[in-house]
Every structure is written in structure tokens, then in C-alpha cells.
Amino acid sequence: MAVLVKGAGVAGLAVAHELMVRGIEVTVVDPAPGGLRAASWYAGGMLAPYCERESAEQAVVELGRGAADWWEEALPGSVTRNGTLVLAPARDHKELDRFGARTSGFEMIDEGEIAALEPDLSGRFRKGLHFPSEAHLDPRHALVVLAAKLAACGVCFETDLSAPSDFDWTIECVGRATQDENIRGVRGEMLLLRTPDVALSRPIRLIHPRFPVYIVPRAGQTFMVGATMIESDATGPITARSMMELLNAAYSLHPAFGEAEIVETGTGIRPAYADNLPRVVRNGNAISINGLFRHGFLLAPAMARQAADMIFDERNKAQ
């Protein structure tokens, strides 16, 4: 059996991997190799189903629970399981209570415990929420390494397949580029900072009543700061306002970010259905995986499994 996967973002690569390990012959086609046009290139890479519950539905928790294990199995060593820390400045402590009331899987921690987890934040915050079972990965590293692994295992990568033929199944994972009118784009802007003066071991979410923000540590003393949520699919550069808000948040987490280098700014367009939940939809021998919204790395494994199961269920029926 041969399957064509359209799109080499996180959804496409995850389903290609899921099929490859189940022994299916897979071809991946994407006009921009290396995921360079994918929303996932700009992702935070947090595998944080419990935190996401703050603004997402319970389904996201259920679908995302197994994500860290899936990534670790697919790419050993890529996942850091240090949990998530949710912090708020003193005047917004009530917001921490609100966050806690909407989520589970955390412990309320005090100044001393925050300092024990993140020594560089010692004395800066009095109260926080620690989600110990959450994890994170570097999305760009994961995309590159996953593509390399797939190629090494015989998956064929194409940039142009004008007349696709001889495929038993097609799986469309093209995000915002779909023809599906139910998908809308939600713009997210991010930036990468580099400073030798701050060390963090886990993603930090900083609560602010008007602008929630996260800072994810990456290799080489870089930090991903994101991400805005704007109902728009404009791909233009980050706006001054968004940049200011992201930088302000980083600065309020630690003043040393004021001296950081701005290594990169970026804009990704997240694909979302009206309920912001993902869907795997089958139409004959064509499957579409879309609507992963702001949960690409968290939900791609579950979506990949669902799509692969559809194909195998059909094959079992045929036999």
C-alpha cells in the first residue's frame, strides 16, 4: 500500500512517521522543504495539555496526554520533561487562582519552591503553579530530525508532484492552505531572544490579565517568546505593538532579557476550525488532518494515530 502525505509540517511528518513504523510506503510532498512555510516552524513546542486547558476544551487534554511519550519514542532524547511553571506578578495573583480553577495536574508553589526549580527567578515571584508532568521540545529540531529519520527509513520527499498517481490513500495536512472553507487562520507572532544571563529549565507561562505569554528555553541560550493570537491570516512581519508586548513580558519575567539579542522574529498562521478543535476527516480514500490551531506538537501524534487507524481499519475490513 502506498500513501501520499501532502504537507511537511508537524501534522504531515507525524502521520508519515506513524504510517512508516506500521510498514506503509509513504511519500511526502511539500513545496517548501524543511517545514519552512509551516505554522509549526514558529511553534513553542510545549507539550502542556494541562496548561492548555486554561483556554481549550477538555478534548485537548485527552488528545494531548500521550504526546510527550510519542515524541520521545519517535525521536529519543528530543523531549525535556521538566514540567511547566505558571507565574504571575504580585498584583495579578488572583489570575493564578483563576488559572488553577480551570486546570488540573499542578501544585501551588511558593517563592522558595520557585527558586528551587528556577534559581534565576529567585526572589522575583512569590507564588506560582507547577505542572510537573508536562514537557517541551524544540520544534525546529524535531521537524528537521523527524524528516531526516523518515528519509533514512525510506520515506520519499518531493517538492512537486503535479500528477500524483498510484497512491492508495492521500492524507492532506496543509493547514491554512486547504480549500476547506471551515478553516480560518489565526495569526501568531513570536520572537527568539538570546542572552547568556538567564538560564531556565522549563517553559514559563506568565499570566497577565490582558496578554498571556510564554517563554520556552532552547539550546544555545536562546528563548522563544510567544505568541500573539490575532484573528487574521496576514503573514506580514510582526507588528511593533506585538513585539512590544512580547518584550515587555520577557522583561517582566527577568530584567536581563532587556539586554538580550533579538535573534529572530516570526509570524505563523495557525489553522483552526470554529471550535478550535482538530479534525481527522475521511472522504473516500482521501483523509484530511487539520485545525490543530495552537496545539500542533501536542495534538499531531493523536491525529496521526487516528488517520493511520482509519487506513488500517479499512484494510482489515477489505481482508
Binding site: 487562520g185 484573528e231 491570516d233 496576514a234 483552526a272 470554529a274
Partner: protein
């Protein structure tokens, strides 16, 4: 019945459209609230022209009237420009005028507000000014052409409820004929009932619904409280007394023990 610039509305609740977990939940909340008017922010949602179209068409599908706002504007000039863009984009001359004077409290800059209200009223806009509870400013806004006022009762998104009942009563007392909509600061349904019991014409909500654990259920709860307060004001409430007044007269009772 609520009449705003000649448009009659059945609900006394207006709903903001920001910060919901998803557009689907927003649409359900609009339905549960029974509102006839939703506000939409022009600035943040449309970076890049027509690009927020999918979101707009979802809101339009709710069938309610759209009141665009100038959220995030910090000067009269900026607010006027935003209002003009909104008129083109949404094909409406209604505009909720916001000019922020303090970044931290999001308090309106009432001087720039009056200036912008005058300019926009002259251009034929139907202006809904987001203002403080200051009586003199309210008068100036009416002089500037506003036929509706939207005083805050507490800072935007603070959920504190009415902080200065005296000022709200005073506004109601001085402008008995002007539709007054409490905008900003409501946190729970009892706050909505309280201001409606003062005789206000409507309330506008966003954060209290959007950030609730269950936004749809909360929209319904606010709708009931708002209509309860509205009906109570019209029904004529008792004023509190210091001494008990038995509901059954004691004298003349047939049997004493």
C-alpha cells in the same frame, strides 16, 4: 425594549467578542445571552486589511447587529481614523468610541473622547462613547452629539462591579432620557442586576463572559440577571427600612396565642 439611535432591541445586554476560547463558543454565548448587539474590535483583529474575514463571517452568521469599537486608540485622531475604517468595513455608522488615557487602568481620556465624539457626530456617526461616571463629562458628550452614554462602573476587565453607586445614580438622575449603558467592570450577574435596578438601560459585557469557566452558561446567567434588574426597576422596589414591618398586621388578629 431598548432604543439606541432609533433601533429597537429586545435584550438589555450587549456582548463583546474578544477572548473567547473559540468562535464556536462565542456564537453559542451570543445565542445564550439573547443579545441583539455585539461589539467587535477593529484594531487587533484585522492586521493586514481583509484578512480577518473568516472570523467576521462567523460573527455575521450570528445575525446580530455589529457595533465596531475603537479599542486600543490613544488619541482623538487615531480613534477618528479607526471609526472611519470601521464604517467602511462593517457598513454601519454605529461606533463605540474608546480613547484610552491610561495604559494601566485603561481609563478613558475624556478630553480626547469629547473631541473625537464631536468630530464623529458631525460626520454622521452614531457615537457610543465609553466614558467614566463623571457627570460633567457626560454632559459634554451629549453636547458633542452623543445620544447614548456608556459609563464604566469599574476598570475594564476588573470584574469589580459597581464601585461608585452614587455617581451612577447621579448620572441616571441627571439624564433621565438618555440611554445609559454600563460598560466595563462587571464581574458577576448580581453586578448586572444592581446597575439595572438603578434604572440603567443596558449593560455591556465581555471578559466576565468570555473568561468564565463556562462562557455559554455565564452568558445565560447574565441575561437573566439583567432582565431581572430591568423588570425590578420598572416594578418599583421597596426602599430599605430600619425597623421590621410585619407583612400581616398584628392588631386585629383573631387569636392571640
Amino acid at each position: 425594549m431598548l432604543t439606541l439611535y432609533g433601533t429597537e432591541l429586545h435584550s438589555h445586554l450587549l456582548l463583546g467578542t474578544a477572548q473567547y476560547p473559540s468562535p464556536a463558543i462565542l456564537l453559542d454565548a451570543i445565542k445564550a445571552s439573547g443579545t441583539g448587539v455585539v461589539t467587535v474590535s477593529l484594531r487587533r483583529e484585522t492586521a493586514g486589511g481583509s484578512s480577518g474575514e473568516r472570523f467576521w463571517s462567523l460573527i455575521r452568521s450570528s445575525g446580530v447587529r455589529v457595533l465596531p469599537n475603537t479599542a486600543g486608540c490613544h488619541s482623538a485622531k487615531e480613534a477618528v481614523l479607526t471609526a472611519q475604517m470601521a464604517r467602511d468595513l462593517f457598513a454601519t455608522d454605529w461606533i463605540k468610541l474608546e480613547v484610552i488615557g491610561n495604559h494601566d487602568t485603561l481609563q478613558p481620556d475624556v478630553f480626547a473622547l469629547v473631541e473625537a465624539a464631536g468630530i464623529l457626530s458631525n460626520e454622521g456617526f452614531k457615537v457610543f462613547p465609553y466614558t467614566t461616571d463623571d457627570l460633567v463629562v457626560a454632559g459634554r458628550l451629549i453636547d458633542a452629539g452623543c445620544e447614548v452614554l456608556m459609563p464604566w462602573c469599574a476598570p475594564i476587565g476588573s470584574a469589580q462591579g459597581p464601585l461608585n453607586l452614587h455617581a451612577l445614580r447621579s448620572l441616571r438622575g441627571h439624564f433621565p432620557e438618555v440611554p445609559l449603558i454600563v460598560d466595563a467592570g462587571l464581574g458577576r450577574p448580581s453586578h448586572a442586576a444592581t446597575v439595572m435596578e438603578l434604572g440603567f438601560d443596558a449593560i455591556l459585557l465581555n471578559t466576565a463572559v468570555a473568561k468564565a469557566g463556562d462562557p455559554v452558561a455565564m452568558a445565560g446567567a447574565f441575561a437573566k440577571a439583567t432582565e431581572a434588574g430591568y423588570a425590578a426597576f420598572r416594578a418599583g422596589m421597596l426602599e430599605p427600612r430600619d425597623v421590621a414591618v410585619p407583612s400581616t398586621p398584628v392588631i386585629g388578629k383573631a387569636v392571640f396565642g
